[in-house]
Protein backbone atom coordinates (compact mmCIF):
# COMPACT_ATOMS: atom_id res chain seq x y z
CA UNK A 1 0.00 0.00 0.00
CA UNK A 2 2.63 2.52 0.98
CA UNK A 3 4.39 1.99 -2.31
CA UNK A 4 1.34 2.61 -4.44
CA UNK A 5 0.29 5.64 -2.49
CA UNK A 6 3.48 7.41 -3.50
CA UNK A 7 2.36 7.39 -7.08
CA UNK A 8 -0.58 9.70 -7.63
CA UNK A 9 -1.55 8.03 -10.92
CA UNK A 10 -2.13 4.63 -9.32
CA UNK A 11 -4.00 6.25 -6.53
CA UNK A 12 -6.44 7.90 -8.87
CA UNK A 13 -7.05 4.58 -10.58
CA UNK A 14 -7.66 2.90 -7.24
CA UNK A 15 -10.08 5.62 -6.21
CA UNK A 16 -11.95 5.40 -9.47
CA UNK A 17 -12.19 1.63 -9.14
CA UNK A 18 -13.47 1.93 -5.63
CA UNK A 19 -16.10 4.46 -6.72
CA UNK A 20 -17.20 2.19 -9.53
CA UNK A 21 -17.46 -0.74 -7.15
CA UNK A 22 -19.51 1.34 -4.72
CA UNK A 23 -21.82 2.36 -7.56
CA UNK A 24 -22.37 -1.27 -8.52
CA UNK A 25 -23.02 -2.15 -4.89
CA UNK A 26 -25.46 0.72 -4.59
CA UNK A 27 -27.24 -0.32 -7.76
CA UNK A 28 -27.40 -3.89 -6.48
CA UNK A 29 -28.74 -2.76 -3.15
CA UNK A 30 -31.44 -0.72 -4.86
CA UNK A 31 -32.11 -3.64 -7.16
CA UNK A 32 -32.75 -5.77 -4.12
CA UNK A 33 -34.74 -3.11 -2.35
CA UNK A 34 -36.92 -2.69 -5.39
CA UNK A 35 -37.70 -6.39 -5.15
CA UNK A 36 -38.82 -6.05 -1.56
CA UNK A 37 -40.49 -2.66 -1.51
CA UNK A 38 -43.70 -3.33 -3.48
CA UNK A 39 -44.81 -6.12 -1.15
CA UNK A 40 -43.79 -4.10 1.84
CA UNK A 41 -45.57 -0.91 0.82
CA UNK A 42 -48.68 -2.90 -0.03
CA UNK A 43 -48.69 -4.56 3.37
CA UNK A 44 -48.11 -1.28 5.20
CA UNK A 45 -50.90 0.47 3.33
CA UNK A 46 -53.45 -2.28 3.79
CA UNK A 47 -52.65 -3.47 7.31
CA UNK A 48 -50.87 -0.72 9.20
CA UNK A 49 -52.72 2.38 8.09
CA UNK A 50 -56.14 1.04 9.15
CA UNK A 51 -54.61 0.26 12.50
CA UNK A 52 -53.39 3.81 12.96
CA UNK A 53 -56.81 5.07 11.91
CA UNK A 54 -58.37 2.76 14.50
CA UNK A 55 -56.43 4.64 17.18
CA UNK A 56 -57.81 7.92 15.84
CA UNK A 57 -61.38 6.59 15.76
CA UNK A 58 -61.07 5.23 19.26
CA UNK A 59 -60.77 8.79 20.53
CA UNK A 60 -64.11 9.79 19.07
CA UNK A 61 -67.73 9.32 19.89
CA UNK A 62 -69.16 8.19 16.61
CA UNK A 63 -72.20 6.16 15.69
CA UNK A 64 -72.69 5.41 11.99
CA UNK A 65 -76.44 5.26 12.48
CA UNK A 66 -76.52 8.84 13.77
CA UNK A 67 -74.94 11.07 11.12
CA UNK A 68 -73.31 14.14 12.58
CA UNK A 69 -72.79 12.45 15.94
CA UNK A 70 -69.03 12.39 15.48
CA UNK A 71 -66.99 14.29 18.07
CA UNK A 72 -63.63 14.05 19.78
CA UNK A 73 -63.94 12.62 23.28
CA UNK A 74 -60.39 11.69 24.23
CA UNK A 75 -60.08 8.53 26.27
CA UNK A 76 -63.76 8.27 27.16
CA UNK A 77 -64.28 5.18 24.99
CA UNK A 78 -61.49 3.39 26.82
CA UNK A 79 -63.14 4.23 30.12
CA UNK A 80 -66.37 2.73 28.81
CA UNK A 81 -64.58 -0.37 27.59
CA UNK A 82 -62.97 -1.07 30.93
CA UNK A 83 -66.06 -0.41 33.01
CA UNK A 84 -68.30 -2.47 30.72
CA UNK A 85 -69.27 -5.77 32.35
CA UNK A 86 -69.79 -7.18 28.85
CA UNK A 87 -66.15 -6.51 28.03
CA UNK A 88 -64.84 -8.22 31.16
CA UNK A 89 -67.10 -11.16 30.43
CA UNK A 90 -65.78 -11.31 26.88
CA UNK A 91 -62.17 -11.26 28.11
CA UNK A 92 -62.83 -14.15 30.50
CA UNK A 93 -64.66 -16.11 27.80
CA UNK A 94 -61.84 -15.49 25.34
CA UNK A 95 -59.21 -16.73 27.77
CA UNK A 96 -61.23 -19.81 28.76
CA UNK A 97 -62.07 -20.63 25.18
CA UNK A 98 -58.58 -20.10 23.76
CA UNK A 99 -56.72 -21.82 26.57
CA UNK A 100 -58.97 -24.91 26.55
CA UNK A 101 -59.09 -25.20 22.78
CA UNK A 102 -55.31 -24.86 22.48
CA UNK A 103 -54.63 -27.28 25.31
CA UNK A 104 -57.02 -30.02 24.19
CA UNK A 105 -56.10 -29.79 20.52
CA UNK A 106 -52.42 -29.88 21.49
CA UNK A 107 -52.82 -33.02 23.60
CA UNK A 108 -54.99 -34.82 21.05
CA UNK A 109 -52.71 -33.63 18.27
CA UNK A 110 -49.68 -35.01 20.10
CA UNK A 111 -51.30 -38.40 20.61
CA UNK A 112 -52.30 -38.57 16.96
CA UNK A 113 -48.84 -37.46 15.84
CA UNK A 114 -47.28 -40.25 17.91
CA UNK A 115 -49.66 -42.74 16.33
CA UNK A 116 -48.88 -41.47 12.85
CA UNK A 117 -45.15 -41.64 13.51
CA UNK A 118 -45.43 -45.43 13.66
CA UNK A 119 -45.52 -47.50 10.53
CA UNK A 120 -48.75 -49.27 9.82
CA UNK A 121 -50.83 -50.11 6.82
CA UNK A 122 -53.00 -47.26 5.60
CA UNK A 123 -51.00 -44.60 7.40
CA UNK A 124 -51.23 -42.19 4.46
CA UNK A 125 -55.00 -42.60 4.32
CA UNK A 126 -55.33 -42.07 8.07
CA UNK A 127 -53.25 -38.91 7.85
CA UNK A 128 -55.33 -37.64 4.95
CA UNK A 129 -58.56 -38.25 6.85
CA UNK A 130 -57.16 -36.62 9.98
CA UNK A 131 -56.11 -33.37 8.33
CA UNK A 132 -59.50 -32.93 6.67
CA UNK A 133 -61.29 -31.03 9.50
CA UNK A 134 -58.68 -28.31 9.17
CA UNK A 135 -59.38 -27.95 5.45
CA UNK A 136 -63.15 -27.87 5.78
CA UNK A 137 -64.45 -24.34 5.40
CA UNK A 138 -64.99 -23.24 9.03
CA UNK A 139 -68.45 -21.89 8.23
CA UNK A 140 -69.48 -25.21 6.70
CA UNK A 141 -67.97 -27.15 9.59
CA UNK A 142 -69.81 -25.04 12.14
CA UNK A 143 -73.12 -25.41 10.27
CA UNK A 144 -72.73 -29.17 10.11
CA UNK A 145 -71.98 -29.42 13.82
CA UNK A 146 -74.95 -27.22 14.62
CA UNK A 147 -77.35 -29.26 12.51
CA UNK A 148 -76.56 -32.85 11.57
CA UNK A 149 -74.16 -33.52 14.45
CA UNK A 150 -75.55 -31.73 17.50
CA UNK A 151 -79.26 -31.44 16.83
CA UNK A 152 -81.01 -32.68 20.00
CA UNK A 153 -83.39 -35.05 18.21
CA UNK A 154 -81.85 -36.02 14.88
CA UNK A 155 -78.18 -35.32 15.57
CA UNK A 156 -75.56 -38.04 15.29
CA UNK A 157 -73.90 -37.19 18.60
CA UNK A 158 -76.98 -37.87 20.67
CA UNK A 159 -77.67 -40.99 18.63
CA UNK A 160 -74.19 -42.33 19.40
CA UNK A 161 -74.51 -41.40 23.07
CA UNK A 162 -77.98 -42.89 23.45
CA UNK A 163 -76.71 -46.13 25.05
CA UNK A 164 -75.07 -43.94 27.71
CA UNK A 165 -78.37 -42.44 28.73
CA UNK A 166 -78.08 -39.14 26.90
CA UNK A 167 -81.55 -38.27 25.70
CA UNK A 168 -82.37 -35.27 23.58
CA UNK A 169 -79.73 -33.05 25.06
CA UNK A 170 -79.41 -29.64 23.41
CA UNK A 171 -75.64 -29.27 23.58
CA UNK A 172 -75.39 -25.75 22.19
CA UNK A 173 -77.71 -24.25 24.80
CA UNK A 174 -76.97 -26.50 27.79
CA UNK A 175 -73.17 -26.59 27.36
CA UNK A 176 -72.44 -23.66 25.03
CA UNK A 177 -68.79 -23.15 25.91
CA UNK A 178 -67.79 -26.83 25.81
CA UNK A 179 -69.60 -27.09 22.48
CA UNK A 180 -67.64 -24.36 20.73
CA UNK A 181 -64.43 -25.55 22.38
CA UNK A 182 -65.14 -29.03 21.03
CA UNK A 183 -65.71 -27.70 17.51
CA UNK A 184 -62.48 -25.69 17.75
CA UNK A 185 -60.59 -28.78 18.94
CA UNK A 186 -62.01 -30.76 16.03
CA UNK A 187 -60.85 -28.07 13.66
CA UNK A 188 -57.41 -27.33 15.14
CA UNK A 189 -56.18 -30.76 16.23
CA UNK A 190 -54.96 -31.49 12.68
CA UNK A 191 -52.95 -28.27 12.75
CA UNK A 192 -51.16 -29.34 15.93
CA UNK A 193 -50.81 -32.88 14.67
CA UNK A 194 -49.00 -32.08 11.43
CA UNK A 195 -46.56 -29.72 13.13
CA UNK A 196 -45.78 -32.26 15.87
CA UNK A 197 -45.53 -35.08 13.32
CA UNK A 198 -42.89 -33.07 11.47
CA UNK A 199 -41.14 -32.67 14.79
CA UNK A 200 -41.22 -36.39 15.54
CA UNK A 201 -39.96 -37.27 12.09
CA UNK A 202 -37.08 -34.84 12.34
CA UNK A 203 -35.66 -36.81 15.27
CA UNK A 204 -32.34 -38.41 14.59
CA UNK A 205 -32.82 -42.16 14.35
CA UNK A 206 -29.21 -42.75 15.43
CA UNK A 207 -29.74 -41.21 18.84
CA UNK A 208 -32.91 -43.22 19.41
CA UNK A 209 -31.10 -46.35 18.32
CA UNK A 210 -28.23 -45.59 20.67
CA UNK A 211 -30.63 -45.07 23.57
CA UNK A 212 -32.28 -48.37 22.83
CA UNK A 213 -28.98 -50.19 22.69
CA UNK A 214 -28.18 -48.66 26.06
CA UNK A 215 -31.31 -50.32 27.38
CA UNK A 216 -33.77 -47.41 27.56
CA UNK A 217 -37.45 -48.39 27.43
CA UNK A 218 -39.93 -46.76 25.08
CA UNK A 219 -41.42 -44.55 27.80
CA UNK A 220 -37.98 -43.43 28.96
CA UNK A 221 -36.97 -42.61 25.41
CA UNK A 222 -40.15 -40.61 24.97
CA UNK A 223 -39.72 -38.69 28.23
CA UNK A 224 -36.00 -38.06 27.99
CA UNK A 225 -35.39 -37.72 24.26
CA UNK A 226 -38.56 -37.19 22.28
CA UNK A 227 -40.28 -34.64 24.51
CA UNK A 228 -37.24 -32.37 24.84
CA UNK A 229 -36.73 -32.60 21.10
CA UNK A 230 -40.38 -31.69 20.56
CA UNK A 231 -40.18 -28.67 22.84
CA UNK A 232 -39.69 -26.11 20.11
CA UNK A 233 -42.45 -27.67 18.08
CA UNK A 234 -44.82 -27.67 21.04
CA UNK A 235 -44.03 -24.00 21.66
CA UNK A 236 -44.71 -23.23 18.03
CA UNK A 237 -48.02 -25.09 18.21
CA UNK A 238 -49.14 -23.26 21.33
CA UNK A 239 -48.19 -19.84 20.06
CA UNK A 240 -49.41 -20.09 16.48
CA UNK A 241 -52.46 -21.99 17.69
CA UNK A 242 -53.32 -19.29 20.24
CA UNK A 243 -52.94 -16.56 17.67
CA UNK A 244 -55.29 -18.27 15.24
CA UNK A 245 -57.77 -19.70 17.74
CA UNK A 246 -58.20 -16.46 19.70
CA UNK A 247 -59.61 -14.95 16.51
CA UNK A 248 -62.32 -17.61 16.20
CA UNK A 249 -65.44 -15.97 14.92
CA UNK A 250 -67.19 -18.26 12.44
CA UNK A 251 -68.28 -21.05 14.77
CA UNK A 252 -69.45 -18.68 17.50
CA UNK A 253 -71.39 -16.63 14.99
CA UNK A 254 -73.08 -19.74 13.65
CA UNK A 255 -73.50 -22.14 16.55
CA UNK A 256 -74.25 -19.99 19.59
CA UNK A 257 -74.39 -16.36 18.41
CA UNK A 258 -72.42 -15.56 21.52
CA UNK A 259 -75.15 -16.96 23.73
CA UNK A 260 -77.11 -18.11 25.49
CA UNK A 261 -77.00 -14.70 27.09
CA UNK A 262 -73.34 -13.82 26.76
CA UNK A 263 -71.99 -17.24 27.67
CA UNK A 264 -69.89 -17.61 24.52
CA UNK A 265 -69.33 -13.97 23.58
CA UNK A 266 -65.58 -13.73 23.01
CA UNK A 267 -63.72 -10.54 22.11
CA UNK A 268 -63.94 -10.89 18.33
CA UNK A 269 -67.67 -11.55 18.55
CA UNK A 270 -68.18 -8.75 21.09
CA UNK A 271 -66.38 -6.35 18.79
CA UNK A 272 -68.44 -7.52 15.86
CA UNK A 273 -71.62 -6.74 17.81
CA UNK A 274 -70.38 -3.27 18.73
CA UNK A 275 -69.28 -2.39 15.22
CA UNK A 276 -71.81 -4.08 12.97
CA UNK A 277 -74.95 -4.45 15.04
CA UNK A 278 -74.80 -1.23 17.00
CA UNK A 279 -72.45 0.69 14.67
CA UNK A 280 -70.65 2.25 17.63
CA UNK A 281 -67.48 2.99 15.66
CA UNK A 282 -65.66 4.83 18.44
CA UNK A 283 -66.28 2.18 21.08
CA UNK A 284 -65.56 -0.67 18.69
CA UNK A 285 -62.28 1.01 17.78
CA UNK A 286 -61.28 1.37 21.43
CA UNK A 287 -62.15 -2.28 21.93
CA UNK A 288 -60.07 -3.19 18.90
CA UNK A 289 -57.07 -1.32 20.28
CA UNK A 290 -57.32 -3.05 23.63
CA UNK A 291 -57.66 -6.45 21.93
CA UNK A 292 -54.75 -5.72 19.66
CA UNK A 293 -52.49 -4.69 22.52
CA UNK A 294 -53.34 -7.93 24.27
CA UNK A 295 -52.49 -9.85 21.12
CA UNK A 296 -49.25 -7.94 20.65
CA UNK A 297 -48.10 -9.15 24.05
CA UNK A 298 -48.69 -12.78 23.03
CA UNK A 299 -47.33 -12.17 19.55
CA UNK A 300 -44.09 -10.71 20.90
CA UNK A 301 -43.46 -13.96 22.72
CA UNK A 302 -44.41 -15.87 19.58
CA UNK A 303 -41.98 -13.85 17.48
CA UNK A 304 -39.21 -14.57 19.94
CA UNK A 305 -39.86 -18.29 19.60
CA UNK A 306 -39.91 -18.05 15.81
CA UNK A 307 -36.78 -15.97 15.97
CA UNK A 308 -35.07 -18.70 18.00
CA UNK A 309 -36.12 -21.23 15.42
CA UNK A 310 -34.42 -19.15 12.76
CA UNK A 311 -31.31 -18.37 14.71
CA UNK A 312 -29.37 -21.33 13.35
CA UNK A 313 -30.20 -20.40 9.82
CA UNK A 314 -27.67 -17.62 9.40
CA UNK A 315 -24.78 -19.76 10.48
CA UNK A 316 -25.74 -22.83 8.54
CA UNK A 317 -24.12 -23.07 5.12
CA UNK A 318 -26.61 -22.82 2.33
Amino acid sequence: MTVTEDRTGDRAVALRERAAKAAVARRNRWGRRSLILPAMIYTIVVTQIPFVITIWYSLQSWNLLRPGSREFVGLENYGKVFTDAGFRNAVVNTVVFTASAVLFSLVVGLVLAILLDQRFRGRAVVRTLLISPFLVMPVAGALLWKTTMLNPVFGIVNFVLKPFGVGTLDWASRFPMPTIIMVAVWQWTPFMMIILLSGLQSQSTDILEAARVDGAGPWQIFRRLTLPHLRTFLELCVLLGSIFIVQTFDSIFIITQGGPGQATTTLPYFLYLQAFRRFEIGQAAALAIVTTIGTIIIATIALRVLSNLFKGEELAPR
Binding site: A39, I221, P268
Partner: protein, 290 residues
Protein backbone atom coordinates in the same frame (compact mmCIF):
# COMPACT_ATOMS: atom_id res chain seq x y z
CA UNK B 1 -58.83 -53.03 8.47
CA UNK B 2 -55.11 -52.73 8.50
CA UNK B 3 -54.95 -54.42 11.88
CA UNK B 4 -55.45 -57.74 10.17
CA UNK B 5 -52.33 -57.27 8.14
CA UNK B 6 -50.29 -56.31 11.16
CA UNK B 7 -51.29 -59.42 13.06
CA UNK B 8 -48.86 -61.54 11.08
CA UNK B 9 -46.75 -63.66 13.42
CA UNK B 10 -43.05 -63.17 13.77
CA UNK B 11 -40.66 -60.98 15.65
CA UNK B 12 -42.11 -57.65 14.70
CA UNK B 13 -39.49 -55.78 16.65
CA UNK B 14 -36.84 -56.90 14.19
CA UNK B 15 -38.75 -55.75 11.17
CA UNK B 16 -39.50 -52.28 12.44
CA UNK B 17 -37.71 -49.79 10.24
CA UNK B 18 -37.40 -47.13 12.92
CA UNK B 19 -36.23 -48.77 16.06
CA UNK B 20 -36.43 -47.15 19.42
CA UNK B 21 -39.30 -44.76 18.86
CA UNK B 22 -41.96 -44.53 21.47
CA UNK B 23 -44.23 -47.30 20.27
CA UNK B 24 -47.11 -48.58 22.31
CA UNK B 25 -48.47 -52.03 21.60
CA UNK B 26 -48.11 -53.06 18.01
CA UNK B 27 -51.77 -53.72 17.32
CA UNK B 28 -53.02 -50.85 19.36
CA UNK B 29 -51.48 -48.23 17.10
CA UNK B 30 -53.31 -48.93 13.86
CA UNK B 31 -56.57 -49.56 15.67
CA UNK B 32 -56.45 -46.31 17.59
CA UNK B 33 -55.28 -44.39 14.55
CA UNK B 34 -58.13 -45.69 12.43
CA UNK B 35 -60.70 -45.00 15.12
CA UNK B 36 -59.43 -41.43 15.47
CA UNK B 37 -59.34 -40.93 11.72
CA UNK B 38 -62.89 -42.16 11.30
CA UNK B 39 -64.07 -40.05 14.23
CA UNK B 40 -62.46 -36.88 12.95
CA UNK B 41 -63.53 -37.46 9.40
CA UNK B 42 -67.08 -38.51 10.21
CA UNK B 43 -68.72 -35.04 10.03
CA UNK B 44 -67.17 -34.57 6.59
CA UNK B 45 -68.28 -38.01 5.45
CA UNK B 46 -71.78 -37.41 6.80
CA UNK B 47 -71.98 -34.08 5.01
CA UNK B 48 -71.05 -35.76 1.76
CA UNK B 49 -73.64 -38.48 2.33
CA UNK B 50 -76.47 -36.20 3.44
CA UNK B 51 -76.03 -34.05 0.34
CA UNK B 52 -77.36 -36.95 -1.73
CA UNK B 53 -80.42 -37.53 0.43
CA UNK B 54 -84.00 -36.37 0.21
CA UNK B 55 -84.86 -34.08 3.10
CA UNK B 56 -87.08 -36.82 4.57
CA UNK B 57 -84.10 -39.16 4.69
CA UNK B 58 -81.97 -36.51 6.38
CA UNK B 59 -84.31 -36.17 9.36
CA UNK B 60 -84.56 -39.66 10.75
CA UNK B 61 -83.85 -41.22 14.07
CA UNK B 62 -81.86 -43.44 13.93
CA UNK B 63 -79.87 -41.73 11.15
CA UNK B 64 -80.09 -43.45 7.78
CA UNK B 65 -76.94 -44.88 6.27
CA UNK B 66 -78.66 -46.58 3.37
CA UNK B 67 -80.98 -44.59 1.14
CA UNK B 68 -81.77 -43.91 -2.48
CA UNK B 69 -79.27 -41.24 -3.60
CA UNK B 70 -80.52 -38.22 -5.47
CA UNK B 71 -79.04 -35.14 -7.09
CA UNK B 72 -82.13 -33.08 -6.28
CA UNK B 73 -80.37 -31.03 -3.64
CA UNK B 74 -77.54 -30.02 -5.97
CA UNK B 75 -80.10 -29.08 -8.58
CA UNK B 76 -82.02 -27.03 -6.01
CA UNK B 77 -78.91 -25.13 -4.96
CA UNK B 78 -78.08 -24.07 -8.46
CA UNK B 79 -81.70 -23.10 -9.03
CA UNK B 80 -81.33 -20.83 -6.05
CA UNK B 81 -78.48 -18.89 -7.65
CA UNK B 82 -75.51 -20.51 -6.03
CA UNK B 83 -73.45 -19.77 -9.13
CA UNK B 84 -72.82 -16.02 -8.51
CA UNK B 85 -71.50 -16.83 -5.04
CA UNK B 86 -69.19 -19.46 -6.50
CA UNK B 87 -67.94 -16.99 -9.09
CA UNK B 88 -67.33 -14.32 -6.45
CA UNK B 89 -65.42 -16.77 -4.28
CA UNK B 90 -63.40 -18.05 -7.21
CA UNK B 91 -62.53 -14.53 -8.35
CA UNK B 92 -61.55 -13.33 -4.89
CA UNK B 93 -59.47 -16.45 -4.31
CA UNK B 94 -57.70 -16.70 -7.67
CA UNK B 95 -57.03 -13.00 -8.20
CA UNK B 96 -55.82 -12.42 -4.65
CA UNK B 97 -53.53 -15.45 -4.91
CA UNK B 98 -52.06 -14.19 -8.18
CA UNK B 99 -51.53 -10.75 -6.68
CA UNK B 100 -49.88 -12.25 -3.61
CA UNK B 101 -47.50 -14.27 -5.76
CA UNK B 102 -46.69 -11.28 -7.98
CA UNK B 103 -45.67 -9.23 -4.95
CA UNK B 104 -44.28 -11.95 -2.71
CA UNK B 105 -42.03 -13.77 -5.17
CA UNK B 106 -39.69 -10.82 -5.79
CA UNK B 107 -39.85 -9.88 -2.14
CA UNK B 108 -39.02 -13.36 -0.87
CA UNK B 109 -36.22 -13.61 -3.40
CA UNK B 110 -34.79 -10.28 -2.34
CA UNK B 111 -34.88 -11.42 1.28
CA UNK B 112 -33.37 -14.80 0.50
CA UNK B 113 -30.31 -13.50 -1.31
CA UNK B 114 -29.70 -11.08 1.54
CA UNK B 115 -27.42 -8.47 2.05
CA UNK B 116 -30.25 -6.03 2.26
CA UNK B 117 -29.70 -4.29 5.55
CA UNK B 118 -32.13 -5.35 8.23
CA UNK B 119 -33.56 -8.23 6.21
CA UNK B 120 -34.50 -9.89 9.44
CA UNK B 121 -36.54 -6.87 10.52
CA UNK B 122 -38.37 -6.86 7.21
CA UNK B 123 -39.17 -10.53 7.59
CA UNK B 124 -40.51 -10.06 11.08
CA UNK B 125 -42.45 -7.00 10.05
CA UNK B 126 -44.37 -9.16 7.61
CA UNK B 127 -45.11 -11.85 10.10
CA UNK B 128 -46.20 -9.40 12.77
CA UNK B 129 -48.97 -8.17 10.48
CA UNK B 130 -50.39 -11.68 10.42
CA UNK B 131 -50.40 -11.82 14.20
CA UNK B 132 -52.55 -8.76 14.66
CA UNK B 133 -56.20 -9.63 15.11
CA UNK B 134 -58.26 -8.95 12.02
CA UNK B 135 -60.96 -7.40 14.19
CA UNK B 136 -58.39 -4.75 15.17
CA UNK B 137 -58.56 -3.16 11.74
CA UNK B 138 -62.06 -4.02 10.55
CA UNK B 139 -63.66 -0.75 11.68
CA UNK B 140 -61.58 1.65 9.58
CA UNK B 141 -61.48 -0.86 6.74
CA UNK B 142 -65.25 -0.79 6.70
CA UNK B 143 -65.38 3.00 6.81
CA UNK B 144 -62.67 3.43 4.15
CA UNK B 145 -64.31 0.85 1.89
CA UNK B 146 -67.60 2.70 2.31
CA UNK B 147 -66.03 6.04 1.44
CA UNK B 148 -64.25 4.59 -1.60
CA UNK B 149 -67.47 2.95 -2.80
CA UNK B 150 -65.82 -0.44 -2.43
CA UNK B 151 -68.39 -2.01 -0.14
CA UNK B 152 -69.99 -5.07 -1.67
CA UNK B 153 -67.34 -5.46 -4.37
CA UNK B 154 -65.03 -8.39 -4.99
CA UNK B 155 -62.22 -5.83 -5.29
CA UNK B 156 -62.21 -5.08 -1.58
CA UNK B 157 -61.98 -8.80 -0.82
CA UNK B 158 -59.10 -9.23 -3.25
CA UNK B 159 -57.23 -6.34 -1.63
CA UNK B 160 -57.71 -7.71 1.87
CA UNK B 161 -57.06 -11.38 1.09
CA UNK B 162 -53.83 -10.37 -0.60
CA UNK B 163 -52.69 -8.55 2.51
CA UNK B 164 -53.86 -11.44 4.70
CA UNK B 165 -51.81 -14.01 2.78
CA UNK B 166 -48.76 -11.86 2.08
CA UNK B 167 -46.76 -12.72 5.22
CA UNK B 168 -47.30 -16.45 4.85
CA UNK B 169 -46.39 -16.30 1.17
CA UNK B 170 -43.23 -14.27 1.75
CA UNK B 171 -42.00 -16.53 4.52
CA UNK B 172 -42.87 -19.73 2.77
CA UNK B 173 -41.40 -18.70 -0.58
CA UNK B 174 -38.26 -17.49 1.10
CA UNK B 175 -37.77 -20.89 2.69
CA UNK B 176 -37.93 -22.42 -0.80
CA UNK B 177 -35.55 -19.86 -2.28
CA UNK B 178 -33.04 -20.62 0.46
CA UNK B 179 -32.91 -24.19 -0.76
CA UNK B 180 -31.69 -23.21 -4.22
CA UNK B 181 -27.96 -23.96 -4.27
CA UNK B 182 -26.04 -20.74 -4.18
CA UNK B 183 -23.63 -21.95 -6.84
CA UNK B 184 -26.39 -21.97 -9.43
CA UNK B 185 -27.22 -18.32 -8.77
CA UNK B 186 -23.56 -17.38 -8.82
CA UNK B 187 -23.03 -19.18 -12.10
CA UNK B 188 -25.88 -17.19 -13.61
CA UNK B 189 -24.39 -13.98 -12.27
CA UNK B 190 -20.96 -14.77 -13.71
CA UNK B 191 -22.61 -15.38 -17.06
CA UNK B 192 -23.76 -11.77 -16.85
CA UNK B 193 -27.41 -12.26 -15.85
CA UNK B 194 -29.07 -9.34 -14.12
CA UNK B 195 -30.93 -9.85 -10.87
CA UNK B 196 -34.17 -10.04 -12.78
CA UNK B 197 -32.92 -12.53 -15.33
CA UNK B 198 -31.38 -14.58 -12.59
CA UNK B 199 -34.74 -14.74 -10.83
CA UNK B 200 -36.93 -15.36 -13.87
CA UNK B 201 -34.75 -17.67 -15.94
CA UNK B 202 -32.77 -19.58 -13.35
CA UNK B 203 -34.39 -19.56 -9.93
CA UNK B 204 -38.11 -19.62 -10.68
CA UNK B 205 -38.08 -22.89 -12.63
CA UNK B 206 -36.24 -24.50 -9.74
CA UNK B 207 -38.73 -23.40 -7.09
CA UNK B 208 -41.86 -23.96 -9.19
CA UNK B 209 -43.14 -26.71 -6.86
CA UNK B 210 -42.64 -24.38 -3.90
CA UNK B 211 -44.59 -21.65 -5.64
CA UNK B 212 -47.40 -24.08 -6.34
CA UNK B 213 -47.49 -25.11 -2.67
CA UNK B 214 -47.55 -21.48 -1.57
CA UNK B 215 -50.37 -20.73 -3.97
CA UNK B 216 -52.37 -23.62 -2.54
CA UNK B 217 -51.98 -22.33 1.01
CA UNK B 218 -53.15 -18.89 -0.11
CA UNK B 219 -56.10 -20.44 -1.91
CA UNK B 220 -57.13 -22.35 1.21
CA UNK B 221 -57.13 -19.28 3.42
CA UNK B 222 -58.84 -17.02 0.89
CA UNK B 223 -61.52 -19.52 -0.06
CA UNK B 224 -62.46 -20.22 3.57
CA UNK B 225 -62.41 -16.60 4.75
CA UNK B 226 -65.67 -15.45 6.28
CA UNK B 227 -65.29 -12.40 8.53
CA UNK B 228 -64.42 -9.85 5.83
CA UNK B 229 -66.91 -11.35 3.41
CA UNK B 230 -69.67 -11.15 6.00
CA UNK B 231 -69.03 -7.55 6.96
CA UNK B 232 -67.94 -5.99 3.69
CA UNK B 233 -70.21 -7.61 1.14
CA UNK B 234 -73.96 -7.83 0.75
CA UNK B 235 -75.86 -9.04 -2.27
CA UNK B 236 -73.53 -8.48 -5.22
CA UNK B 237 -70.12 -9.65 -4.02
CA UNK B 238 -71.08 -12.20 -1.36
CA UNK B 239 -68.97 -15.35 -1.37
CA UNK B 240 -69.71 -19.01 -0.72
CA UNK B 241 -69.43 -18.88 3.11
CA UNK B 242 -71.96 -16.05 3.13
CA UNK B 243 -74.27 -18.16 0.99
CA UNK B 244 -73.96 -21.01 3.49
CA UNK B 245 -74.82 -18.76 6.42
CA UNK B 246 -78.15 -18.06 4.74
CA UNK B 247 -79.06 -21.60 5.81
CA UNK B 248 -79.07 -20.73 9.51
CA UNK B 249 -82.07 -18.51 9.20
CA UNK B 250 -84.08 -18.96 6.05
CA UNK B 251 -83.45 -22.62 5.44
CA UNK B 252 -82.54 -23.94 8.85
CA UNK B 253 -84.55 -27.07 8.27
CA UNK B 254 -83.10 -28.13 4.94
CA UNK B 255 -80.25 -30.35 6.04
CA UNK B 256 -79.81 -32.26 2.84
CA UNK B 257 -79.64 -29.07 0.83
CA UNK B 258 -77.27 -27.50 3.35
CA UNK B 259 -75.05 -30.56 3.15
CA UNK B 260 -74.98 -30.44 -0.63
CA UNK B 261 -74.02 -26.76 -0.54
CA UNK B 262 -71.41 -27.39 2.14
CA UNK B 263 -69.94 -30.22 0.09
CA UNK B 264 -69.56 -27.91 -2.88
CA UNK B 265 -68.03 -25.26 -0.64
CA UNK B 266 -65.50 -27.61 0.94
CA UNK B 267 -64.50 -29.75 -2.01
CA UNK B 268 -62.01 -27.42 -3.75
CA UNK B 269 -59.99 -26.81 -0.60
CA UNK B 270 -60.22 -30.41 0.60
CA UNK B 271 -58.81 -31.63 -2.70
CA UNK B 272 -56.14 -28.93 -2.76
CA UNK B 273 -55.14 -29.72 0.82
CA UNK B 274 -55.00 -33.46 0.27
CA UNK B 275 -52.77 -32.96 -2.75
CA UNK B 276 -50.52 -30.50 -0.95
CA UNK B 277 -50.52 -32.14 2.48
CA UNK B 278 -46.76 -32.58 2.51
CA UNK B 279 -46.36 -28.83 2.06
CA UNK B 280 -49.14 -27.89 4.46
CA UNK B 281 -46.99 -27.90 7.56
CA UNK B 282 -44.54 -25.56 5.93
CA UNK B 283 -47.21 -23.06 5.04
CA UNK B 284 -48.87 -23.19 8.43
CA UNK B 285 -45.61 -22.57 10.25
CA UNK B 286 -44.48 -19.87 7.80
CA UNK B 287 -41.72 -22.11 6.52
CA UNK B 288 -40.25 -22.70 9.98
CA UNK B 289 -40.99 -26.42 9.95
CA UNK B 290 -40.24 -28.51 6.91
Amino acid sequence: MSTVAERAPGRVEERTPRPGRFRPRRLLVPTLAWIAAIGFFFPVFWMFLTGFKQEADAFTSPPKLVFKPTLDQYRAIFDRDFTPFLINSAMATVLSTLLVLALAIPCAYGLAIKPVEKWRDVLFFFISTRFLPIVGAIVPIYVIARDLQLLDTVTVLIILYTAMNMPIAVWMLRSFFLEVPRAIMEAARIDGATLRQELVRVVLPLVAPGIAATALICVIFAWNEFFFALNLTASRAATVPVFLVGFITSEGLFWARLSAAATMACLPVLLAGWIAQKQLVRGLTMGAVK
